[in-house]
Structures are given as structure tokens and as C-alpha cells.
């Protein structure tokens, strides 16, 4: 007898296996939850891995203070509905405590500051493993990262000293102070995530679907949703457009795409025709330099 599984079945089985290895190998893991589609998919996979028991980890949100309100609302709702513990730590508090400089400029991004709060929350709860929804198709430095990615006590990633990762055997042994970042959906692409959301009928925050929004037109032509955090001047062009978001980051550095997509099926059709990658279309902070992501990851960024 031989059986062929659909590729989504295989990706799902691999991710559940990884989540259970985290539960089996670590004492104090956490699931980093942003309210975005990738971390939402992780919570569905965790249900499949651990129900009827509870999750062997809390959900942890590093709140930059620049989030979309719809996403925060979804986050609280989902945590309540799952009956799992949600820990929220605010970048705002880290800025005060560590006397960090607030970012300036027209589009002040707190993205680089998230790392400080993340390292603080890891230290506070002594997390030895942090599960995240990063995917290798997002960016070329991510394409190099292992599924179990060991970080030193400063949260740093050293791409030259990565452990070999063989078969589906994951080595999570670390020394005190170190932690492991775990990426169960490493092998998924943006399209896989959407097809899984469709198959599993997973509800998402509204901002993923086409809606009318007042936006600022950036010099690149990208559209940024209007928010109180932007420092606009008179020349800025303000428009109202039918948009949706491909990714959910900070409202100050996540651009919207024009779209009428009302359903997950519409979004998948959009994606099949899209000529621009997820990060290219939406992130303002990756284009700083050729090695922007690699450098941030070396410093402890997710």
C-alpha cells in the first residue's frame, strides 16, 4: 500500500512535529504572537498539536504601540477564545526603562526597538525557546536560518556557527542564558499560508481584506494608512483608496496594497497574479541595506 499526501498535509505534519519537539525539549517555551496571519496559523497548529490539553506555552505579544487597533482587538479575542495565557509587553515601557531614543522622521518606526523589549521579556520569564511564524521565503537571510536557531545570551544569531540540522531530528540543547528561536512554518510560502487559512477556515483581522482607508502616498508610490504616529507635512498627498494589508506590522512601516479582495479565495487569486514579494510590497524597513535583515537578526531581532 502506498499513500500520497497533499503538500499542505505534509507541511502541517512537519509543523506539528516541531511544536511537539519544543514542548518535549524545553522547560519554558513561549509562542510569539503578533496577531498577524503567520502567528494565527501557529495557534491553529498548536491546537492540533496539544488539544485536548492546554498549550505548553503562553502567547507573548511585543506591543510597539504602533499597532493597528483591529489587530489588538483580534489578539485579545483569540487569546480569550483559546483560553490560553497572553503576556503583553510594551516597547513604550522599554523605551522609558532603558532611556532609548524614540525614532524620529516622518514615518517613525519602532521596529528596531522591538528587539530590546523581546530580549527583556525573554529575560523576565526566562524563556528558553521562542516560537515564531517567520518563513524562509520572506527574505534571503531567513532562507539560511535553521528551524531550531540557537541564540546567545544577547539574542544574537551567528550564521556561520549554525548547527547542522539533519532529517527531522531537532537539537534544542542549550547552555544557561542561551535561547532557541523555533520556526515551525519555515518551509511554508505566503501562498501556502493563505491556502491553509482557506482550508482550515481560520478567521482573520479585517485589515487583511479589501476596505476603504485614508492613506498617505509615499514617494515610492506605496500607500501608508493614515495614523496619529506619522509626522506629515503639507505637501503630503492624502487619498482614500480600497486597500488591504498583505502583512501586519507596525502601522508606521507597513504599506497597504490596493485591492478589492473580499474573501480568502480573492486574496489567493490576487497573490497568484502578484509580481511583487510580500516584504517588497509592504515593508519600508527592509530596503535600508542589502544585509538589512541579516544584520538585525545578528542583533537579536526575530
Amino acid at each position: 500500500m502506498s499513500t500520497t499526501f497533499d503538500y499542505l498535509d505534509r507541511l502541517e505534519a512537519e509543523a506539528i512535529h516541531i511544536l511537539r519537539e519544543v514542548a518535549g525539549q524545553f522547560e519554558r517555551p513561549a509562542l510569539l504572537f503578533s496577531g498577524g496571519k503567520d502567528s494565527i496559523v501557529l495557534t491553529r497548529l498548536a491546537e492540533k498539536a496539544f488539544r485536548p490539553g492546554r498549550f505548553p506555552f503562553p502567547l507573548v505579544h511585543v506591543d510597539t504601540g504602533h499597532n493597528f487597533p483591529e489587530v489588538l482587538q483580534y489578539r485579545d479575542q483569540l487569546a480569550a477564545q483559546l483560553g490560553e495565557k497572553l503576556i503583553v509587553r510594551k516597547v513604550e515601557d522599554t523605551i522609558k526603562r532603558q532611556r532609548l531614543r524614540e525614532p524620529g522622521g516622518k514615518y517613525p518606526s519602532r521596529n528596531p526597538l522591538q528587539t530590546y523589549t523581546l530580549l527583556e521579556v525573554i529575560e523576565e520569564f526566562e524563556f528558553d525557546a521562542c516560537i515564531g511564524g517567520a518563513r524562509r521565503d520572506e527574505e534571503k537571510a531567513r532562507a539560511k536560518e535553521r528551524i531550531f536557531s540557537v541564540r546567545d545570551e544577547f539574542g544574537q544569531w551567528d550564521p556561520k556557527r549554525q548547527r547542522p540540522e539533519l532529517w527531522n531530528i531537532y537539537n534544542g540543547r542549550i547552555q544557561k542564558g542561551e535561547n532557541v528561536r523555533v520556526f515551525p512554518i519555515s518551509n511554508w510560502t505566503e501562498l501556502d499560508v493563505w491556502r491553509y487559512i482557506q482550508r482550515e477556515n481560520i478567521p482573520l483581522p479585517d485589515i487583511y481584506f479589501g476596505h476603504e482607508r485614508t492613506c498617505v502616498v509615499l514617494p515610492s508610490g506605496q500607500l501608508l494608512g493614515l495614523s496619529e504616529h506619522l509626522q506629515l507635512d503639507e505637501e503630503d498627498e492624502i487619498v482614500t483608496r480600497q486597500v488591504r494589508f498583505r502583512t501586519v506590522g507596525d502601522s508606521t512601516c507597513t504599506a497597504a496594497v490596493e485591492s478589492d479582495a473580499a474573501t480568502v479565495e480573492d486574496i489567493i487569486q490576487d497573490l497568484l497574479l502578484a509580481k511583487v514579494s510580500e516584504r517588497g510590497a509592504t515593508r519600508l524597513d527592509d530596503n535600508i541595506s542589502e544585509a538589512g535583515m541579516e544584520d538585525r537578526k545578528r542583533n537579536g531581532y526575530f
Binding site: R20, F50, K144, P159
Partner: protein
């Protein structure tokens, strides 16, 4: 739609990264913004260097070589692909082993001007050792030999001799030029004498990952015990079916304890199912309240049971700068089972060009050696050649936690206290 995981191997400068870049580019899997970023780097203008699509690290771009494994993804209407781009340098053999451990197929690249060289043999033998059964010989840079049929034919023959000699599966040979895009995705008019499929066409039609009828293997990763008022006594053994199938009602034996029970239920996403097959992630419940914990295996009793042993012989790919010496203590991780282990003896080092045996006192980084291993706990093992899932393990440094070696079980000795008692032998003097 099904999935094919493949690895590209071959020497430095054979054009592996360019070939992957070409596959992605010609199958329209590269986004416009990613291309724009490449063009920006190409200050001099001209043709975009497709190799830059895969070399993602600063050091790789500086040196123009691939150091670490990169994973790339693309989908055609017929199939989804995961590409493992492994480095060609001899000093990164351990990363090649990393890539090969998860691949269903290997593309072995050869430079048409060079033909079959040492690194071709080395990578072919390592890929075969790791259990890859589908090989493609990609004869690249055909544009630099005037697309001559005779050059291709000679290399294909040389390679066939290599695979014959080592009893390896036959390879499908394809002439192409990654740089020019000949025969990678689209057939090329420069190669009118070649009537076979393009590389992509072959990748789309070769058999993919199919579960064969291997003996059933399941290892417990995590015990689910809700201990709620509704489920006070629920105890589920969560894990992935590593090979074969399990059915509700089957009699199973817990290893290493040897206790037996019956599968009361198999759950997939909290739904009870009659049967589950590898690679499904499931929760098993047993009829009796036997002691089962992480690392234990649930298997069917009988001739298909794995060997339970504390002594084995294995091939190791040594991956650490610290050498392995006889007597060294370390940890063995066999999926979710972890035990202390020692290497009493290094039997020999494998010459990866000839598969011949070389005497050695120590194993150094990137060496492939045959060793004897002893473990502190009995492990439920299969031979790697019979079961890739349960014949594989890693060795770990107890102090640093580093992964030291990839291990393939070559022979396992049933331990005296678990082996059936031999019938008394009558003999006369």
C-alpha cells in the same frame, strides 16, 4: 498537489546557484522587487547574476560562494518544490549532508568542460549513502563546449560507469546551460540532438515522496494530560508516525519497557480515525494504563519489530572541529529518545571517492567513519538502508549542546536481556 524536495550538488563554480536562479527565474517565481534589488547591485549593468538569488549572507556575497544551506521554494501547476542549495566546497561537506538528509532527489552538476571529477564522485556517494534514490546528472555549461553531443555523451557514459560500479541507482542525464537558460525550463534550439525532457519537466514528472509499506514506527514526543473536570483521566501520546500505518485495535508493545497494550484510539486533530499513516502527526491512546513517556516507541510485536539494543555499528559524518577519538563520551538523540553514549572504537574511515576503507585513529571535521557505539539506554533501532526515519540519529556534545555528527545505523545487536532465549543446544563430546 504533491511535494518534491531536491538538493543540488557538485563542485564550486559548477553553477549550482545560477541553475537554481535560472529555475526560479524562468518559471516566473522571482518577484519584481527582488529582481530590482539584484539589478541595483549590478552596477555595471548587463545580465542579472542569477546566483545572487540564493547567496543570502553577507560573507557569501563577499566571497562569491555558498557557505550554508539555503532553502528556496517554487510551485508549478503540477508540483510544489523545496530546493536545498548546498555548498560545493569540500570544507562544507557537513552542510551538504544536512541538505541531503531531507531530499528525495539529487541534481549532480558537472561542468561540461571538466567532466566527472573528484567532487562529483564525493557528492554522489554521500547522497547515495544518505539514501537518495533519484539522481539527475545535469551537464552544465554546454554553451562553452559548442553544445556538442559528443561531450555530453562522454560525460553521461563516465557517470553511468560510476553509478554501475557502486551499484547506485541510474541517473537521468540532461545537457543544459544554466547561464543561457538552455533546457532548464524550456527546451533549447541549441540542443536539437537531445530529445529528452528539460530539467523542470523531469522534476515535475519524477516520482515524488510516496509512503512505502515500511514497518510501522511511532515515537512519543509529548504526553497530553489535560487533568480537567471533563477529562480527568485522559492520557494521550502525541507524536508523528515515522513510517508505516497504525490501526485502531492493534496490539502494540512499548519499547524499551516491553509492556504491551492495545490502541484504543488514534486521534488526528481530536477526531478519532481508524487508520493513520506516516507522516501524520497523531495522538494515540492505549487501552491499559501502562507507563509510557517521551522517547518511548510504540511498535507491533513480531518479526517486524525494531532491534532493541545498547550496541550498534554506525556510519558517522563528523561535523565538529573537535575530533572524535575512541572512548569519547557524548549524547545520542534518536528522534525524541536521548541517551548517554560512548564510542569504544573507530573501525575505519571511508574514502568518499572509492568507498574504500582507511585506517584512522581519530575522526576530523567532514570525515565519514564507521564506528561502534554503546548507549546507556536501549534504543529501538532499524538499519538506515531499511528505514531512513528510524535508522538515523545525531550525536550531541553534552557540555556545549552542539550537534557533532549525523549517524546512520548499519548494524544493531539485539541485547541479551531482550533477545528471545535460545533453545538449549545438545551436544556430545
Amino acid at each position: 498537489m504533491d511535494l518534491l524536495r531536491f538538493i543540488t550538488c557538485g563542485s564550486v563554480d559548477d553553477g549550482k546557484s545560477t541553475l537554481i536562479g535560472r529555475l526560479l527565474y524562468d518559471s516566473e517565481s522571482v518577484s519584481l522587487d527582488v529582481l530590482a534589488a539584484l539589478e541595483k547591485r549590478q552596477a555595471s549593468g548587463g545580465v542579472v547574476d542569477l546566483a545572487l538569488l540564493t547567496d543570502g549572507l553577507r560573507a557569501e556575497r563577499e566571497q562569491g560562494i555558498t557557505i550554508d544551506v539555503a532553502y528556496k521554494y517554487f510551485t508549478t501547476p503540477r508540483r510544489k518544490f523545496i530546493i536545498t542549495d548546498a555548498p560545493g566546497h569540500v570544507q562544507y561537506t557537513r552542510n551538504m549532508v544536512t541538505g541531503a538528509s531531507n531530499a528525495d532527489l539529487a541534481i549532480v552538476l558537472v561542468d561540461a568542460r571538466q567532466g566527472v571529477i573528484e567532487q562529483t564522485r564525493r557528492h554522489t556517494l554521500i547522497a547515495a549513502l544518505l539514501g537518495i534514490r533519484h539522481f539527475v546528472l545535469a551537464v552544465n555549461k554546454m554553451d562553452l563546449v559548442n553544445y556538442e553531443e559528443a561531450v555530453f555523451a562522454r560525460i553521461a557514459t563516465d557517470y553511468a560507469e560510476l553509478t554501475n560500479h557502486f551499484h547506485l541507482p541510474a541517473a537521468t542525464a540532461i545537457p543544459l546551460s544554466a547561464l543561457q537558460g538552455d533546457n532548464v525550463v524550456k527546451p533549447s534550439q541549441h540542443l536539437p540532438w537531445y530529445t529528452g525532457p528539460s530539467l523542470l519537466e523531469h522534476l515535475e514528472t519524477v516520482p515524488g515522496a510516496v509512503e512505502t509499506a515500511a514497518a510501522p514506527r511511532f515515537q512519543v514526543q509529548y504526553v497530553i494530560r489535560p487533568q480537567t473536570p471533563e477529562l480527568p483521566d485522559y492520557r494521550g501520546y502525541a507524536g508523528q508516525i515515522l513510517s508505516g500505518s497504525y490501526h485502531r485495535g492493534q496490539r502494540v508493545r512499548v519499547l524499551p519497557s516491553g509492556l504491551e497494550s492495545e490502541i484504543e484510539a488514534i486521534e488526528v486533530n481530536q477526531q478519532e480515525v481508524e487508520t493513520a499513516t506516516a507522516p501524520q502527526a497523531v495522538v494515540m491512546r492505549l487501552r491499559d494504563d501502562v507507563d509510557v513517556s517521551r522517547g518511548d516507541a510504540l511498535v507491533l510485536a513480531g518479526p517486524e519489530a525494531p532491534t532493541l539494543t545498547r550496541e550498534l555499528e554506525a556510519t558517522l559524518c563528523w561535523m565538529s572541529e573537535q575530533p572524535l577519538w575512541p572512548g569519547r563520551k557524548l549524547l545520542i538523540q534518536h528522534h525524541s529518545a536521548l541517551a548517554k553514549a560512548a564510542v569504544p572504537a573507530i573501525l575505519y574511515k571511508v574514502n568518499v571517492q572509492t568507498f574504500g576503507r582507511i585506517h584512522t585513529e581519530q575522526a576530523q571535521l567532514n570525515d565519514i567513519v564507521r564506528v561502534r557505539l554503546k548507549t546507556a539506554l536501549p534504543l529501538a533501532l532499524d538499519l538506515y538502508q531499511e528505514n531512513r526515519a528510524t535508522g538515523s540519529f545525531i550525536l550531541v556534545d553534552e557540555l556545549t549542546g552542539d550537534t557533532l555528527a549525523a549517524g546512520l545505523v548499519e548494524a544493531a545487536n539485539a541485547e541479551y536481556f531482550t533477545a528471545p532465549v535460545a533453545p538449549p543446544v545438545a551436544f556430545s563430546i
